[in-house]
Symmetry: C2
Subunit: 138 residues, 2 copies
DNA sequence: GCAATAAATGCACTTCCGTTGCACGGTTTA
DNA sequence: TAAACCGTGCAACGGAAGTGCATTTATTGC
């Protein structure tokens, strides 16, 4: 538990009770979570607090935002090797069409793409949709 | 003009005046358009009509929907070689961070990605963000 | 051509998510 | 201790997607 506090402090985020809970929740989940997910998990917490906490986490490089094509912003904790705050975050995400969950495939990087002349790439987002490990195994 | 009518009829879509106008509008634009764009272009048309027209076009394989990460659904006409109604549409899209426009790079296909065991890919979406041809040239 | 049917359109409304303004309260700092 | 700052909670706004129903327009069968 103290580890979470340290992690937050290292990222210049004051470790309040709420923030620690949210961090813990996201650490336990292995999938990307939406604001609504956290809201449901902490019924007593206010939406705005969660919203701003995620924004703070994102700015400080604690989580990264994921656009998985559902038009609902999701977030996942940055892995130790995640450089999304410095460079573009180039790992890809997988969205399961069955269970509707989204996971980071941090070890899978987005392949380099040759763009036409005049186009300058700054960021990339690759989402693979299909059936995830859990759902295909059943 | 008659060509558009034929195109729609070939796709089993009745060529009404509104639909022809929308098709023409999208054909003249070289970028992906949002519902709001069409709404602004045809002030007298109703939102619902445009919305349902796009849905119909999508079902019939006339346009494909694009998720460019702006959380606003955009649409672009399918090219002759576009197989998005049969298989997954594997070309990538480019979103300009400067002019906020999104274009199809139909000749650029999404590279094959090796997924971990148990994951089955059904669809893929790759969006490159950066500066487009028009904006970088200035 | 006319009535019956089906399709397309228009209007009103709802819902969901993201976002912001403002006020309160606790914590830190001078 | 007072002042400043930051986190939190409440309320409300706004954009976009989506739905139900009435009305108009087009198609079909007689």
């Amino acid at each position: 538990m103290k580890e979470i506090e340290k992690t937050l402090e290292n990222k210049s985020v004051r470790p309040t009770a709420m923030r620690i809970l949210i961090y813990k929740y996201m650490a336990e989940k292995e999938i990307a979570v939406a604001l609504t997910d956290i809201e449901n998990a902490f019924a007593k917490a206010d939406r705005t607090t969660l919203y701003r906490t995620l924004k703070t986490f994102e700015e400080k490089g604690i989580v990264h935002q994921i656009d998985d094509g559902t038009n609902i912003s999701k977030y996942a904790l940055c892995e130790p090797g995640c450089n999304c705050e410095i460079e573009q975050d180039l790992h890809l995400h997988f969205h399961c069409n069955n269970c509707d969950e989204t996971v980071c495939l941090t070890e899978h990087k987005i392949p380099q793409v040759n763009l036409p002349d005049g186009y300058v790439a700054e960021d990339a987002n690759l989402v693979i949709k299909g059936i995830c490990e859990k759902c295909s195994g059943q």
